[in-house]
């Protein structure tokens, strides 16, 4: 039971990061490896807002997410757009965007290391216990899970119930057909990239309420988010959420039953199973 709840909370946070990444990769076609740094930056912002201005991190999201949106829009417009225009085919864009976002990742990490140093940070927010079915849990974790659910549902409604969201999904299916039905593909791509960044930042702010973070942990989160995106199927919102929960549960189970140092082994076992049996993702359809 303990594993189930802790795993779900972890999975909920993973889901937000992976949703951000699946938008960036699935719609904007940019494999953003600096996404984990985006997350860590949001952790630091939430920390800073809470300790310096005593702004509640949940409310802080309302500040952090729009800033992340603008920042990621700028990254797309100034750094990624030239690569998109230059690329002759999808493979070329993939390689270029991977290398460019590696550069971005190291630059962001380097700046954060210079500003905050390599120490671990954390702060006390709602760390009183709550009892659920006879076990104690930190209230901050439960609140974070609740906020993640709200954000994920809002995203789902936006993508599947609004006109703008449908346009975003259309670009994810086929950019060339989308432009035939008068969808402004470059604009949608930039929007999806920025929205993905905002989602990830929201995930980071939530994560910071119960997780000890430091400047160089971003790459681990990027990797887990990538694995979730592949497991769920690129651009698939439901798949990403399901995969994130699976991963959160598997990691928590391995950490509490075998050894806390083997969480990545759990991640990779799931990843290999997916690669061998369902490389198109959990809900993905078989393609030729």
């Amino acid at each position: 039971m303990d594993i189930l709840i802790t795993g779900t909370v972890l999975g909920g946070t993973y889901a937000l990061i992976a949703l951000g990444l699946t938008l960036q990769y699935g719609v904007a076609r940019i494999m953003n490896l600096a996404n984990g740094e985006n997350l860590v930056l949001a952790c630091f912002c939430a920390f800073w807002l809470y300790t310096a201005a005593s702004i509640n991190p949940i409310i802080g999201i309302a500040l952090i997410a729009p800033v992340a949106f603008v920042l990621n829009w700028a990254i797309y417009a100034y750094a990624m757009k030239p690569l998109v225009d230059r690329a002759k085919n999808r493979g070329q864009l993939e390689i270029d965007s991977i290398l460019a976002t590696f550069g971005l990742m190291f630059i962001m990490q380097g700046v954060m290391l210079l500003v905050f140093g390599g120490e671990y940070f954390s702060y006390n927010f709602l760390s009183e216990p709550v009892r659920i079915l006879g076990e104690n849990y930190g209230l901050n974790r439960i609140v974070a899970l609740g906020a993640a659910v709200v954000i994920a549902v809002a995203l789902y409604v936006f993508l599947y119930r609004t006109r703008y969201g449908t346009a975003v999904r259309a670009v994810s299916v086929s950019p060339s057909s989308a432009s035939l039905v008068a969808i402004d593909v470059p604009r949608m791509s930039a929007f999806a990239f920025a929205l993905g960044g905002a989602l990830t930042a929201a995930g980071g702010a939530l994560l910071s309420t119960f997780y000890t973070f430091n400047a160089s942990m971003g790459v681990i989160f990027t990797m887990k988010a990538l694995i979730i995106v592949i497991m769920g199927g690129v651009g698939d919102v439901r798949g990403a959420v399901l995969a994130a929960l699976l991963l959160g549960l598997a990691e928590t189970a391995v950490a509490s039953l075998i050894d806390p140092g083997l969480t990545l082994a759990a991640t990779y076992t799931l990843f290999i199973l997916v690669l061998l049996f369902r490389p198109q993702g959990i809900f993905g359809r078989q393609t030729a």
């Binding site: 494999m31 030239p82 990742m105 190291f106 210079l114 990797m223 990545l264 690669l275």
Partner: protein
């Protein structure tokens, strides 16, 4: 017997001369410059081995640190019981097998899966090794005491570099190399003319991984104390990618053009500004993508192409004037 044409003989002669010059470095200096030369030689082997696979396939492998660490660990575990040359062989086998397994799982699919898989591979192996060590050996670190000095390590690396170059040259002339060039140009075409694309990629990845494993094994005596975080340091993977791309991956020797300047620069920066190394790596990545997409090698080729283009035109103008 393998026949070489005139040009190849000339290249071989120049290469021999350069190797001879490099091999005499330890006779001149045994301090800072030798240590820097060991770094350069190490990255030269790593980048060339990396290019062996990633050059023709365009797959960005971040598995270097995993193979390197396995090589280091093979020596760390066996140094008290087995002779050093045998350990090098074990290192090659162990990392080759890992490369084979990774290749079989990921190389049938698109390049992105491969990048993601290799991104975490070093960390995964590190976790597993740490867990096994704590569980069965009781301690995390290993001591490697040998009689090998810095200069012996340097000479071994040079010899390995020569072997890597010769292997690369032989692969290039073989059916496998021919198949790889077709795959690199157009994979669909390669599949249609009956090349087993996945098999060719896996074989090349195994060769590349085995060489990286041997490099890790050779470097083990230099560390003296081997523990998982230093042996499986993920930064090595990124440095290798940067240096190789900086030099260019079109030819086997092109990565050297990136290795030598970057190793020296990195050494300088980490000596005087240790906190700025990730910034340096980041900026170099950006510079490669936006300004040097084909590396220094590509830059040279562009300049040469421009010269070739202007020369006939100039000659034509001169003729017209007469």
């Amino acid at each position: 017997m393998i026949r070489m044409n005139n040009r190849e003989q000339r290249v071989a002669a120049i290469a021999l001369l350069l190797f001879g010059a490099a091999a005499s470095i330890p006779l001149l200096d045994e301090g800072y410059y030798l240590s820097l030369s060991v770094n350069i030689a190490m990255y030269a082997v790593l980048c060339t081995a990396w290019t062996l696979f990633s050059g023709p396939t365009h797959y960005i492998s971040l598995a270097t640190a995993a193979f390197f660490g396995i090589g280091t660990y093979s020596v760390g575990l066996g140094i008290d019981t087995l002779p050093f040359p045998l350990l090098l062989l074990i290192a090659a086998l162990a990392s080759g097998i890992l490369a084979g397994l990774v290749g079989i799982a990921t190389l049938r699919l698109s390049g992105v899966y491969f990048v993601i898989f290799t991104l975490g591979l070093a960390e995964l192996v590190r976790q597993v090794v740490t867990w096994l060590q704590v569980k069965f050996l009781g301690a995390v670190g290993l001591y490697v005491f040998t009689d090998l000095a810095e200069k012996h390590i340097f000479w071994m690396l040079l010899a390995l570099a020569a072997v890597v170059f010769i292997t690369g040259w032989l692969v290039n002339r073989s059916r496998l190399g021919f198949a790889m060039r077709i795959i690199g140009n157009d994979e669909t075409v390669a599949r249609h003319v009956g090349i087993d694309v996945a098999r060719a990629k896996v074989i090349l990845f195994v060769i590349s991984g085995a060489f990286i494993g041997i490099t890790g094994a050779i470097l083990a005596p230099r560390f003296a104390y081997v523990e998982p975080p230093s042996a499986f340091n993920p930064v090595i993977s990124f440095q290798v990618v940067i240096m190789a791309l900086l030099g260019g991956t079109g030819r086997l020797w092109a990565p050297l053009l990136g290795v030598i300047p970057f190793t020296i620069l990195f050494d300088r920066i980490s000596a005087s500004f240790p906190n700025h190394t990730s910034l340096l790596i980041g900026v170099t990545f950006m510079a490669i993508v936006y300004f040097l997409p084909r590396g220094v090698m590509g830059l040279f080729e562009d300049i040469r192409a421009r010269k070739d283009k202007t020369r006939p035109v100039a000659a034509g103008v001169a003729e017209a004037a007469e």
